[in-house]
Subunit: 144 residues, 2 copies
């Protein structure tokens, strides 16, 4: 086990603190490519799941739909996503990835894989895979 009282460094505490560190590191990496973490999350989800309405998109990235508006505005201005009115439902605006957006996601993802090495330097190759697997399972349980 540990030489410290385990309850003081429970998973919630650790995940919250480490997540804060990771978010800073991640934002700094993305900033070099002039993309915010929220923008990248949108691009990734659209690339994986295809076009989505804004409410579905917001839930998929665990962001409030109100705060998604400005993110989509900025992505749209840069030509990375498009918003099209849904003919079947006048309220909906379907968001989709443009070819330029698709190209950017692929490039960033490749670069990001290299950038992670330093942050996870405490773990060996096998533990990194285990870690990523556990993270994904917990993450997916919260975003559906």
């Amino acid at each position: 086990m540990s030489d410290r009282p385990a309850y003081e460094r429970g998973t919630g505490f650790l995940l919250s603190r480490l997540g804060s560190l990771a978010a800073r590191s991640w934002a700094a990496f993305l900033a070099e490519h002039e993309v915010s973490p929220g923008q990248y999350a949108v691009l990734v989800v659209l690339n994986e799941q295809g076009p989505l309405g804004q409410v579905s998109l917001a839930r998929s990235i665990a962001v409030d739909a109100r705060n998604l508006v400005a993110v989509l505005d900025s992505l749209s201005e840069r030509g990375l996503v498009g918003r099209a009115a849904d003919p079947a439902d006048g309220r909906r605006r379907v968001v989709s990835l443009t070819p330029a957006g698709k190209s950017l996601v692929d490039d960033l993802a490749t670069a990001a894989a290299r950038g992670q090495d330093d942050f996870l330097r405490a773990l060996g190759t096998r533990d990194r895979d285990r870690f990523t697997d556990l993270l994904r399972r917990v993450y997916d349980s919260h975003t559906g």
Copy 2:
């Protein structure tokens, strides 16, 4: 492996996103006890490591020393920590936990252990232990 392109959901992306979720959940729990995440982090570190100067303390919780000042002011006003001038170095102010602070940390840690169950519902008991261990190793590698 996965049915999705693994590079898109690398560890940096997942940790940053999940950490954001965990931080919200964690802050909500602490708010019920009128404590902020930053305040709790200070209390935990002081409880583990004993009295510290503000620069050492800031590094231990991975927070900028400038942003630590207001946190310590609020904790001091509530009588949870004390700041004493260091006789050996006039610049330093040594921060230490008061009995009331120590008591609060212990109570919160016990309550937090119960509150984590829902957030980690996707993992079994053994995987939770593995997850916590991996988190701690990565976290410690960044905070010394």
